[in-house]
C-alpha cells in the first residue's frame, strides 16, 4: 500500500472515527440491534487500524499513542488549531542561543534546572 500523505490519512482516521461516533450514539438507544452491533465492531476495528497506522507514521493522536523509541513527541507541534504559519512563528532561536552561552540560568532562580 502506498504511503498516504499526512492529511489524507488523518482524514481517513477522522471519517472512521466519526462513523464510530455515529454508531456509538445509535447503539446507546438501540442496544439490542444485532445487525448494527456487527457494523459497530467492523467500524471500531477499522478505526483502530487506521489510528495505529497514522500514529506509526505521523505521531501520536493521544498522549499514550507516542512511540517509545521516538521520545515524548506528544508535545510536538502542530496542535489541531495551528496552521503551518503558526508553527513557524515559534521563537526557538532564543533557546538555542541560551544553551550556547554557558549561562543558561541567567541568575533567575525560577529558571534553574535541577542538574
Amino acid at each position: 500500500m502506498n504511503a498516504m500523505t499526512k492529511n489524507a490519512l488523518l482524514q481517513k482516521v477522522r471519517e472512521a472515527a466519526f462513523e464510530k461516533q455515529e454508531m456509538i450514539l445509535y447503539m446507546d438507544t438501540h442496544p439490542g440491534d444485532r445487525a448494527a452491533m456487527h457494523h459497530f465492531c467492523e467500524v471500531r476495528d477499522r478505526c483502530a487500524k487506521l489510528t495505529a497506522e497514522y500514529e506509526k507514521t505521523y505521531g501520536p493522536l493521544t498522549a499514550s499513542g507516542v512511540s517509545c523509541d521516538r521520545g515524548w513527541t506528544w508535545v510536538d507541534s502542530p496542535w489541531p488549531w495551528q496552521r503551518p504559519q503558526d508553527v513557524a512563528a515559534a521563537p526557538v532561536k532564543a533557546y538555542a542561543a541560551m544553551q550556547n552561552t554557558g549561562c543558561a540560568h541567567g541568575g533567575y532562580p525560577m529558571a534553574r534546572r535541577g542538574k
Binding site: 472515527a17 493521544t62 498522549a63 506528544w74 508535545v75 510536538d76 507541534s77 496542535w79 488549531w81 515559534a90 521563537p91 526557538v92 532564543a94 533557546y95 541560551m98 552561552t101 549561562c103 543558561a104 540560568h105 541567567g106 541568575g107 533567575y108 525560577m110 529558571a111 534553574r112 534546572r113
Partner: protein, 199 residues
C-alpha cells in the same frame, strides 16, 4: 477531541449520606476554585500558548480536571442519595433541593451558581501560567478546608487524593513557567510575554 473512560480516576465509596458535607464539597464542583473552572481555565488558555510543552501540560491537566469533576460529582451523589426530606431540611439543604432536588448542579458553597469569572484567560503566557499556579494553590486550600470540616474517612480519602493532585499540577505548571522563561530568553528576568511584543 475527547473520549470518555467508564471509570473514576480514584474510587469513591461512601456508606453514609451526609447533606452537610455535600453542602461544602459542592464548592469544588461549581465554586471559585472548583474542578469545573480549573478544567475550563486550562482548556481555554491552551490556544495562545507558544510552546508544545505548555500546550501539552494544559491539555493533559485540563483533561484530568474533568475526571475530578466526575469524582466530586460522585461524592455529591453518594452523600445525598436517599436522604429523607427531614435530613435535607435539618442540614439546610432545602434551599438547594427546591431547585435541583438531588441533581448535581455546579454552585459554590455560598449558593452562587458556577460563573466564568472564576477563571481568567489573559492570552499572555506569564499572566496565564501565574493564574494557574495560584489556582492550584487555592484549590489545595479548599481541599484542606474540606478536610477540616468533614469527619467521614470514606469522604476524606478521595478528597485527600484530589488535594494531592493539586500539588502535582502546581509542580508541573511551575516547570511550564520555567520552560517559557528559558525558551523566551535567559535575560527575561521580568517575565513578560516576548511573543506578543514581537508581533
Amino acid at each position: 477531541m475527547w473520549q470518555y473512560e467508564k471509570k473514576l480516576q480514584y474510587p469513591v465509596n461512601i456508606k453514609n449520606p451526609d447533606a452537610k458535607a455535600a453542602k461544602v464539597i459542592i464548592s469544588q464542583l461549581g465554586g471559585p476554585d472548583g474542578e469545573l473552572g480549573a478544567s475550563l481555565r486550562y482548556l481555554n488558555q491552551r490556544y495562545t500558548m507558544p510552546y508544545g510543552e505548555i500546550i501539552g501540560t494544559l491539555t493533559d491537566i485540563a483533561t484530568e480536571e474533568l475526571a475530578h469533576v466526575e469524582m466530586i460529582s460522585a461524592i455529591l451523589y453518594q452523600l445525598t442519595k436517599g436522604l429523607p426530606v427531614e435530613e435535607i431540611k435539618k442540614a439546610g439543604m432545602d434551599i438547594y433541593f427546591v431547585d435541583h432536588t438531588a441533581g448535581i448542579y455546579p454552585i459554590a458553597a455560598s449558593g452562587v451558581p458556577f460563573r466564568a469569572e472564576y477563571f481568567g484567560v489573559k492570552g499572555d503566557t506569564y499572566a496565564d501560567l501565574h493564574e494557574d499556579l495560584a489556582a492550584e494553590q487555592k484549590a489545595r486550600v479548599t481541599y484542606d478546608n474540606i478536610l477540616r470540616l468533614v469527619d467521614d474517612p470514606d469522604v476524606k480519602d478521595p478528597i485527600r487524593f484530589l488535594r494531592e493532585r493539586e500539588l502535582v499540577h502546581f509542580q508541573r505548571f511551575g516547570e511550564a513557567l520555567r520552560i517559557a522563561q528559558e525558551k523566551d530568553s535567559y535575560r527575561n528576568f521580568y517575565a513578560y510575554n516576548k511573543q506578543y511584543d514581537k508581533h
